[in-house]
């Protein structure tokens, strides 16, 4: 039968496979196809090189079995001694020493290739050692280069456990090539277990592996599996130990596997605890939290974990995860450690539990267990203000008598609750009634501890702000209740009224003006500012408030017959020019003094007020403005207006009497008397005479119209 003809492959294609190093495909194509325009020898040469490269590549990556297969295929094409020598080497690497010895012996008798023979001898001697045949043929030994000779002797000594002798021989083996020198040095380090700076990139894979555990390109032989396992375990253990030491020294956190691989059960919890501490210090909050939750059953046994939990609380809150587990932890921790920790610590843990749930009632059983019923009161009764009884007021009273930071914290939650409530029920009756009820609670408090002052005034500030969202006329009672409670607490805590918050000051002004001065400002719905600050925008200035307060206190002093009643006015003495309300202040105070029949003549009172404010009627601004304000005030109280006029006119010095402003004062006075049909007494007559006399003499243009009018009226 005729042999089937093989298909043909173009030479170009065949060579391109070789150039692209696609040797497997090249070999396969050579078997299947006849290569065009190439003789068999040419093809064989290409194939030899392909097989050689393949074998080399396989050897370099440690696949010795593959390398041998390729060499065997190569030997079918080229059974030259060099290829056989290569096979001897591969056989040694794959630990097939018997075949290696046989082939090496065959090559040792080759003539006229000294280099090949020396290599064969060297491999032969080596293979013998690896078969535990330590009798070295010294004649053969002398035929190889001295560096290799010393190496053989050294290896023999080492294999017979004489490390010292081995090292001596290795020291004497001084190959020329740098990489061979480095390999020898590496062997010496491995044998002497000395530290070596491992920087050598090109040392043999086995040496690198023994030194560092790096398995790259390690020859895949039958013994290597167990060795890999042993050495990897040793290195892993050493690394683990090093990391554990770093953890013990608090250098840095480690992975949980390191802890679990190294320690016994007793120490594991403590190591995990410290590891979490380090993670937190390294700002790895998520990892810390994950570990905490995962190992909470171990951590809970440590008293210190109570601190850790408190540190982690806001991360748990932020993450919105594991809150249930954290609450479980708190419950277990308290069960185990409640007799060891302070009352504050227990408080804080319970308050933290509240923070972790939107259903505070679920924490109540735990709270009750540790006798913190007052927490329940502050969380429930004070927040919702339902079914209030007299005993609730008593309870609140007792709570505020004694200071505890936990109570203070819960009290502040009421403030936040009011803010949230106002978002949902802005300006509604519900809100107004709620605030009203809460104020009643505050009113009933007899002796709040001074340390609650800051929190209470923040609450009052919130109340003041919320109240001013309501229309004054519709919620007058609410405004007045708020004012009452604020005044009560100002007195109780001896607050300086000038140091109150803007919202509180504004409330005083709103009540004085009988309308809310709070301005509606567009704010983002959920700004942090909304949550923590109630400072609104108000239409008033500080001086107006200060005048109002000074007046308020001065009036209180008058009513209580306190000496130096007008002392509060001293604070205003350099600021009266800023505000026209000052004039009203003067007249309101005088009016009050007259009303309560203050035991001083009105002239003295006026003098006292003016001197306290450090102003004089000779002051130009006062002179010009006061007369207008007095005439305006006459509508409120004509008597007071007349008293001011009388005082002013009787106390003006002679030299000022020829001036325009004096004529304005006279004009104001005489027309008021006339308008209100008051008695035209001696002062009136003198004032009228003065007016005409001076104007007729001085002929002031600005007074001319007044003159003509008065002439018509009074002459």
């Amino acid at each position: 039968m005729a042999r089937k003809k093989r298909k043909k492959l173009q030479k170009k294609q065949f060579l391109s496979l070789f150039e692209s190093k696609n040797y497997q495909k090249l070999i396969s194509k050579a078997k299947q196809f006849e290569i065009e325009d190439m003789s068999q020898d040419e093809v064989d040469n290409i194939l030899k090189e392909a097989y050689l490269n393949l074998a080399n590549d396989s050897f370099n990556i440690g696949d010795i079995a593959r390398a041998i297969r390729d060499i065997n295929s190569l030997l079918l094409i080229d059974d030259s001694n060099n290829i056989k020598l290569l096979k001897v080497k591969y056989l040694c690497y794959i630990e097939n020493f018997n075949d290696a010895l046989k082939l090496a012996k065959e090559l040792m008798s080759v003539k006229k290739d000294t280099k090949l023979v020396k290599e064969a001898i060297f491999l032969y001697l080596l293979a013998n050692l690896y078969t535990q045949n330590y009798e070295i043929d010294l004649k053969l030994l002398k035929k190889i280069p001295i560096s290799r000779e010393k190496y053989i002797l050294g290896l023999s000594a080492f294999m017979q456990d004489d490390r010292e002798l081995a090292l001596n021989y290795f020291n004497e083996s001084k190959p020329r090539a740098k990489i061979e020198k480095e390999n020898i040095e590496t062997i010496k380090s491995i044998i002497s277990q000395s530290t070596i700076a491992y920087k050598k990139e090109n040392i043999k894979p086995l040496y690198r592996f023994l030194l560092s555990g790096n398995m790259d390109n390690l020859a895949n032989t039958k013994n290597i599996g167990a060795v890999k396992k042993d050495i990897s375990a040793q290195f892993k253990s050493r690394k683990n130990n090093e990391e554990i030491e770093e953890l013990l020294d608090l250098d840095h956190s480690v992975s949980i596997d390191v802890i679990k691989n190294n320690t016994n059960e007793t120490e594991e919890g403590r190591l995990i605890y410290n590891n979490i501490i380090l993670l937190l210090e390294e700002n790895q909050y998520n990892e810390a939290l994950t570990l905490f939750i995962q190992y909470k059953s171990k951590l809970v046994k440590l008293t210190e974990s109570g601190f850790l939990l408190l540190y982690l609380i806001h991360y748990i809150q932020d993450s919105q995860q594991s809150t249930d587990k954290a609450i479980e932890f708190i419950s277990s921790y308290l069960f185990l450690h409640n007799s060891k920790i302070s009352s504050s610590h227990i408080d804080m843990l319970l308050l933290s539990a509240f923070k972790l749930t939107i259903y505070p009632a679920t924490i109540f059983p735990l709270v009750k267990k540790y006798n913190r019923d007052n927490f329940i009161f502050l969380k429930q009764k004070l927040i919702y203000l339902t079914d209030i009884t007299p005993s609730d007021h008593d309870t609140f009273n007792k709570i505020l008598k004694k200071f505890k930071i936990s109570y203070n914290s819960l009290l502040d939650e009421k403030r936040l609750h009011l803010i949230f409530l106002s978002d949902d029920h802005k300006n509604t009756i519900y809100l107004s009634q709620h605030i009203s009820k809460f104020i009643e609670f505050l009113i009933m408090v007899e002796q709040p501890h001074y340390k609650y002052k800051k929190t209470l005034f923040m609450i009052l500030t919130t109340i003041a702000s919320l109240v001013q969202d309501f229309n004054f006329n519709k919620e007058r009672d609410l405004y007045m209740k708020a004012l009452t409670i604020i005044n009560q607490y100002i007195k109780r805590f001896r607050m300086n009224i000038l140091n109150l918050s803007i919202d509180l000051k504004a409330l005083f002004i709103s009540i004085d003006r009988e309308e809310s001065i709070k301005q509606i400002v567009d704010k983002p719905l959920f700004s942090i500012r909304d949550l923590f600050m109630t400072e609104g925008d108000y239409d008033f200035n500080e001086t107006e408030y200060d005048i109002l307060m000074a007046k308020k206190i001065s009036i209180e002093n008058l009513e209580n017959n306190i000496q130096d009643s007008f002392k509060p006015l001293k604070k205003l003495k350099n600021r009266i020019y800023q505000n026209d309300i000052f004039y009203t202040l003067l007249m309101d105070l005088l009016r009050k003094a007259v009303e309560i029949k203050y035991n001083k003549p009105t002239d003295i009172i006026i003098k006292e007020i003016l001197s306290t404010l450090n102003i004089s009627l000779n002051d130009k601004k006062i002179r010009d403005s006061l007369v207008k304000e007095v005439v305006k005030y006459a509508i409120t109280d004509i008597n007071i207006a007349i008293l001011i006029f009388r005082y002013a006119l009787l106390n003006i010095s002679k030299k000022d009497k020829n001036l325009v402003w004096y004529l304005s004062w006279l004009d104001g006075y005489i027309n008021l008397v006339d308008k209100y049909k008051l008695e035209k007494d001696q002062l009136f007559k003198e004032s009228l005479d003065d007016f005409f006399k001076i104007q007729e003499k001085k002929k002031f243009k600005s007074i001319d119209a007044k003159y003509r009018k008065n002439v018509k009226k009074f002459r």
């Binding site: 040694c92 690497y93 290599e119 060297f122 080596l126 690896y130 560096s147 290799r148 080492f158 490390r163 190959p175 090539a177 990489i179 061979e180 390999n183 020898i184 590496t186 062997i187 491995i190 277990q193 043999k204 086995l206 040496y207 023994l210 020859a219 032989t221 013994n223 290597i224 060795v227 050495i231 040793q234 253990s237 050493r238 130990n241 090093e242 554990i244 030491e245 013990l248 608090l250 403590r270 190591l271 605890y273 410290n274 501490i277 937190l280 210090e281 008293t303 210190e304 601190f307 850790l308 540190y311 609380i313 007799s339 060891k340 920790i341 302070s342 009352s343 504050s344 610590h345 804080m348």
Partner: protein
């Protein structure tokens, strides 16, 4: 800030009660007076305050982390003797 556990500073073992804290504190400050051992005294006082003073506790809790002293025997820096594998696995330091 990482500080040593106040329980460890005061020598409080696992089964103590809250009232033992003061006893432990008093015992230690007798031993470590402020004149002779100012740093140690400060450490002991700080630990005592953390555990017993309400304000100190609340202020310190969310800023401080407390580590535990751990005694553990580690086979550290044990030299790895892998040289025995040189006997079993063929390798040659020369280019052949």
């Amino acid at each position: 800030m990482i500080k040593k556990s106040p329980y460890i500073i005061l020598g409080l073992e696992d089964n103590f009660e809250f009232k033992d804290i003061k006893k432990a504190y008093r015992k230690l400050i007798r031993e470590f007076s402020p004149e002779n051992h100012p740093k140690k005294f400060a450490e002991i006082s700080d630990a005592y305050d953390i555990l017993t003073d309400e304000e100190y506790f609340w202020n310190g809790t969310i800023t401080n982390l407390y580590y535990i002293d751990i005694q553990l025997d580690i086979e550290s820096n044990k030299d790895i003797d892998n040289s025995r594998h040189l006997k079993n696995i063929f390798e040659v330091p020369f280019n052949i």
